[in-house]
């Protein structure tokens, strides 16, 4: 590449990177009410990094059964919280210091999601079992499917149109046969009502109706009933939670209060900002070390790593549904370490190639890249496999780690294979003494120099 062409391309690239960098970190007011918060400000933080909401649960006075094992209740609540997709959360038992108070309280702390958390908690703490009612009149009260297992599975089907989400309910064979028989024996339309609550309460006042509508035999495809018209994905998830798991065995009342993050022990501790400072420090210190060790090659690696961190940051808001918890932060840091290690590996390869051969700088770099290609892909694939396995298996903190680590690995692979090579191709034509700039030395020269030093000594 000619010097002129390299200068123009590098200038354009630098302007683009600088602009993106500014828009990543800068925050400024826009118009009267709004403000631009940058990529950093746009990242959604989880309960463990930002403020959340705490629910204190106390056993209701009309709770029928005595709680035998509160830890079992805690575990059930945890499973239900994770089912609804909460990453960081805390569920604790609060035993009163007064020995006369026998019932323990439970405190649930999680992220406050606008307009969703109260409904989520209502579904998590839904009391009782699923009940099915069917009759030839709307809003049926005759209980059906009483002594059989009814639900085999339930899945989210997707968004059909704005405000219309669908789910599937897979019935067991036994339940399907009984329901079809009931529909067939009806002289007119047949209505089905699904509710979660406690059997036997007068007028079923403790029941929450999950579905209430007409059902035909044709609506049952195999063993599956499709239900649409659910207003949001979150509502659909709550519906599925109760269909699959019913309610819990005890009737808890709850009240909510906002609560500070467990990581922010003092009110003025802005954890998100500290995280940002920590990541920037890692990148800057690493860049300095690279430049000291590899000089020109270190500058190239440092610039590539800068592109990596910008890419990773923008993907944190670009990929839908990411809520960053402390696990996610560690995922970002871990992928930064992998990216840095891969860069080091490349720099060392190229340097070794030049030292051990009689190749020109250009040829040594080209060979170094070629030799490093497969190991670079290998190390990213190996890490990616584990991230992918965890993405499907893990919950909460570990899942958050897997998401950001996986995204980071993808960005790191592109950075190491494309960006580093691109910067090398653009910067080297601008340098007169390439060996000096890259601190390249032949192995014999190093040996001779060390011999001279020894002799002088």
């Amino acid at each position: 590449m000619s010097k002129k062409k390299a200068t123009i391309l590098l200038s354009i690239l630098s302007v683009i990177i600088a602009t993106v960098l500014v828009f990543t970190f800068i925050q400024f007011p826009v118009g009267a009410a709004g403000s631009y918060v940058g990529a950093i400000g746009g990242v959604t933080l989880d309960y463990d990094l930002e403020d959340g909401v705490a629910y204190t649960l106390t056993l209701s006075e009309d709770n029928d059964e005595e709680v035998e094992d509160v830890n079992q209740v805690v575990n059930e609540i945890k499973e239900r919280i994770e089912f609804l997709g909460y990453g960081a959360y805390s569920v604790k038992v609060l035993e009163d210091k007064d020995p006369l108070v026998l019932d323990d309280e439970i405190r649930v702390e999680l992220k406050s999601k606008a307009g969703q958390t109260d409904s989520d908690i209502a579904a998590i703490l839904a009391y009782g079992d699923l009940h099915f009612y069917g009759e030839e009149q709307s809003d049926p009260i005759k209980e059906i499917l009483k002594d059989v297992k009814v639900i085999a599975d339930s899945q989210y089907l997707g968004l059909y149109e704005e405000g219309n989400h669908g789910i599937s309910i897979v019935l067991t064979n036994e339940a399907k046969d009984e329901l079809v028989k009931a529909i067939e024996s009806a002289s007119g339309s047949y209505y089905l009502k699904i509710a979660c609550g406690v059997e036997g309460h007068e007028g079923h006042s403790h029941e929450k109706v999950l579905f209430n509508g007409e059902i035909t035999k044709d609506a049952i495809n195999g063993n599956t009933i499709g239900i649409s018209g659910i207003s949001s994905r979150e509502e659909a998830q709550r519906f599925i939670l109760q269909l699959k798991h019913g309610g819990i065995d005890y009737n808890y009342e709850y009240e909510s209060e906002s609560i500070s993050s467990i990581y922010a022990n003092q009110a003025d501790d802005n954890v998100a900002q500290k995280v940002l400072v920590a990541i920037i420090t890692i990148v800057v210190v690493f860049a300095i070390c690279n430049i000291v060790l590899f000089k020109g090659l270190g500058i190239i690696v440092a610039l590539s790593n800068l592109v990596f961190i910008i890419g990773e940051t923008w993907l944190m808001i670009g990929v839908p549904g990411i809520i960053l918890s402390i696990g996610g932060i560690i995922g970002i840091i871990a992928s930064t370490i992998v990216c840095a290690t891969a860069s080091l590996f490349f720099a060392q390869r190229v340097k070794d190639e030049y030292a051990s051969s009689k190749k020109t700088v250009k040829a040594a770099i080209s060979k170094g890249f070629r030799q490093g290609l497969i190991p670079t892909i290998n190390l990213h694939v190996v890490s990616g496999v584990v991230a992918l396995a965890l993405l499907f298996l893990a919950n909460a903190t570990l899942k958050n780690f897997a998401i950001t680590f996986g995204i980071g690995l993808a960005v790191s692979l592109i950075t190491n294979l494309v960006i580093t090579r691109m910067y090398t191709a653009l910067i080297l034509p601008l340098v007169k003494d390439k060996e000096k700039f890259l601190r390249f030395e032949r192995a014999e020269a190093v040996a001779e120099a060390s011999e001279e030093v020894t002799e002088e000594a």
């Binding site: 945890k78 210190v285 402390i326 290998n378 890490s383 396995a389 893990a394």
Partner: protein, 295 residues
Amino acid sequence: MNALIKKTKWFIVATLAILVVGMTFFGIFGFNNTIDYSDGYELKIVIDQPLDSAKEALKKSSNDYFAEKGISVVSTQEVDDGMGIIFKFSSDVSSSISETEMTSKIKTSMQLDGVDVETFKFAIVHGSSNVKVGNALLGLAIGLVVIFVYVAFMEKIASALAVCASYVLSMLGFTALMGILRIPAAPLVEVFMVFSAVFAAILSITTVGRYKEQVKNTEGKVDFAKLSLAVMEMEKKKYILSLATVLIAGVALIALFTSNTFYAGAQLILAGVSAVSVSYYLTPLVWTAIKAKKK
């Protein structure tokens, strides 16, 4: 092979010692958890009006009271934007705290008529550790199988075994070190178990790539032990720099975060040390042993 064993003998001895001691500790005591993830005690104080000056007074007077009494607060959480505070303790301090005395101190400090302490409640907290190592182990096990197949396909069986051995031993080494040093584990120990295994595997995989190159470059008979020692020397700088990278990240976490995330930095350093040392010493040992046996 003898030269290789001689070079790695301290690693073998140290690893065995750490594994035996660490796993014994781990077996007896399990992971150590912070107050937010284990059993403890707490005091919740809430005032009845959301006045900024009252909130400040509540915070200051409470902390002053604890300081006077020599009570150490492990951590605090603010409730309803400061209208209430939850103080967390590692031991039962309720007998050292007088509700009347403390409430009076808070009210005096507030100097506001009509603002009262609404809640003053002690509780024994039974913690909820979110650590589910089972999921991490299952993920790591699936990863191990896929990595073995992938590396065996891309490189050779000896390389695949060397990478997988580093992957497993690094994770075990990290767990043992956590058992010995009793660094609070939750909620990130599973994350660092994974990181330790993966980081060891990626360092190891770049090293076995070097073996492949060196074997290709060697004309005639190959002395695998000598070749391993030569590659160890060539790769030394890479391992030192990788360790430095982890240390930089760990120190940044320790220095810039709050007290809770101090432990994250410490765990990152342990995971990194385990990964770097295991992959540096174990990869050549396993690779050479298999190659020499095959020969």
